[in-house]
Symmetry: C2
Subunit: 170 residues, 2 copies
Amino acid sequence: MREVEVREASLLKYPEWIVWIVSADGTGRVNIMPAGWSMFTSHEPPMYAVSVGHDRYTHALIRTGREFTVAFPSPGMEKAIQYCGTRSGREEDKVSGSGLRLRPATRIKPPLVEGAVVNLECRLAAELETGDHTIFVGEVVAAHIEDNAPGRLLNFGSGLYALARPAPSS
Amino acid sequence: MREVEVREASLLKYPEWIVWIVSADGTGRVNIMPAGWSMFTSHEPPMYAVSVGHDRYTHALIRTGREFTVAFPSPGMEKAIQYCGTRSGREEDKVSGSGLRLRPATRIKPPLVEGAVVNLECRLAAELETGDHTIFVGEVVAAHIEDNAPGRLLNFGSGLYALARPAPSS
């Protein structure tokens, strides 16, 4: 074991979860971003937390709209992840450029992602400042699954998003 | 896409991250638990968040000691995960029963996990109640890596902890 900078240690985090965060400003404007920092955070009531950088457009939209969708990407969304992860919704409509298809949610204004393994409709319940990010905690008020999706993509680093299979321990 | 209970949707989360959380009460008493709900939450300063159930012994120890270690398990720790995940540190010394070896940290009281891919020394910076859990956010004040570890274990569900390799998208 040897001590290193935190940044070097964090490179060993992969494979990392990746989720879509879908937000809306209440006037019909919708934004979508892929995010690596998220987790479930309560069973009862069900809650989900996302960590969003202060400068992200999604940050402003969640502050305004107080609702967001969390969706788990499925195979076929690799290019959309790259596309949406390298552009800002402040400058363009990322949804139309990404090829993703959205459909209305049942209980919140931000829409759902067609074909995603899971879509969770979240209402903002609490938030916490953490350095250069904010943790937004949503109560999950509805959930949807896609039976035809073979599984969720993970981020293996270096631009590789793939399904994960277990490798035998050495 | 079809609407389901949140619990059913959450079964599609796997593979999930898993980390060790090591805590101490200040009198030398140490506890360790495996946890699935955790994430990085700031680059500058580096911060890491863990979500811990209210009834967990670790919850009480972090409240008291205000420091914790986050470690990424490596191959060979599968049985220790099962052992520590099904017992409470209130009733027994889980460390000695688990076969895990610990060593002193450099800047905090909770120790490090020998052989883990990464050890992050965290000082409690903020906390947030979220339903039946608390999110504890730690500033990462030191980081250590194990060069000989081949990678981190993921939780594939049904008691299977394994390294992940990318599977080709269909």
